[in-house]
Amino acid sequence: MMFIDPHAHMISRTTDDYEAMAAAGIVAVIEPAFWVGQPRTHVASYADYLSAILGFERFRAGQFGLRHYCTIGLNSKEANDEALAEAVMEILPRFAIKEGVVAIGEIGYDEQTALEDRYFRRQLELARELDLPVMIHTPHRDKKRGTTRSMDVCEEHGLDPSRVVVDHNNEETVAEVLQRGYWAAFSIYPSTKMGDARMVEILKRYGAERVIVNSACDWGISDPLSVPKTAKLALAQGVAAEDVRRACYANALAAFAPSGQIAESDWLSGPAIDQRTLYEGNSILRGGRDARVTAAE
């Protein structure tokens, strides 16, 4: 079975994770721009971060046979630093139109402050201008109202719900998000927030239409195998294979395909894994390991 993990902060993960993800059947990952655990204080470090996820991280993924895509945006936490946020808004368009950028994201609210609201709206306008889908990070705190408000604001700015992925849903938000026509994504965290067992219950109750599963793996406790593990549990509990395929693969592809930057052919007929390729002179092969070169079938 092929899987897509449409929300994975691979910049915080190890090569072991990439290896395990590829072995479990993940063919593509989407890396949303987000904060890095503590605030950046200069626009230059933000620019370097965006370059890193678009450049070296994509190269790293490629060495393990995974296709790597990004979403570009100013996250809600750092939107609260006005000077930084203004400067980041200046540089965002030139990163957002790069190849392999499948959406503006992850954007939205954290504490639902006035500054968060301002930069959320400006980025929705940017998404319209560049004709890109949007990935919304819904707040972890005051989630229900924050989720409703995020969708209200999208509609105020004339976005089509079918072009917007609302992420980090839970039992309390899913019904409204689906009913309003948005993609409803779920981040599966081991033991906290959304576990895979809870996800399977949601699949049974709401079906798989416009439902997307992701790992949101990052530098916190999280599992880069959340998507295949959820698929396995869902199948074991009698969820139809086609529904599993939609929630863990096809819906993510359909949601981000309007960007024109992601297509199934990328991995079905893409180039081989070639770990010998160098990126600006750096290989990730160290300590005399042999390069692995796999031919595309």
Partner: protein
Amino acid sequence: MLGEMAAGPDDARLDLAFARLPRLVGRAPLTLAPADEAAAEAARPGWRPAGWPVDAAARILLLLHLPRAGFADRFRRLRRVADTAELVALFRGLPLYPDPERLEDEAGEGLRSNMRPVFEAVAHHSPYPREVFGEHRWNHMVLKALFVDSPLAPIQGLDERANPELAMMLRDYARERRAAGRPISPELWRCLIPFAQAVGAEADVALADLERIP
């Protein structure tokens, strides 16, 4: 060193002096006699410096010698390059600095941290949030404390600053936790119960009571 601060040191001098303090004074916990604790309470009700590492106390003392003019700018600059212990010291001193309202956004940055000691340096045993924070920031501080498993009891002014908006947020949070089959901190109800009727949460409160029955 302290005398030099009053003259308004340049950035490099201040950074060095601030960073170097643990080398000079050590990191032992501050031990206070009952009379000292009473003096702290008299100076700033709710402020508890006992148990601070002595280097944090020394850092705050250093900052208190800086000129009032430009204090907030210096604070901000130090905060942006601070390590964890420095952040904790900077934020623990909030109730003592000049023009406290000018540091509210800085305190907000401390609350935004995912490092619990930094968050608690702002939120716990300090009259600053109670005195300075607007309702929106206050409410998000309380909610975040629950999210990061930080106790609410050390937050000063918890009862006096309770409000219907916070009660509504806590009601939704309790329902979300219940729907997810996750435990709810018993501290949550303290800020919700006074407004339970106003925000239609009587059933939530009753349910929580019944859950205590084995």
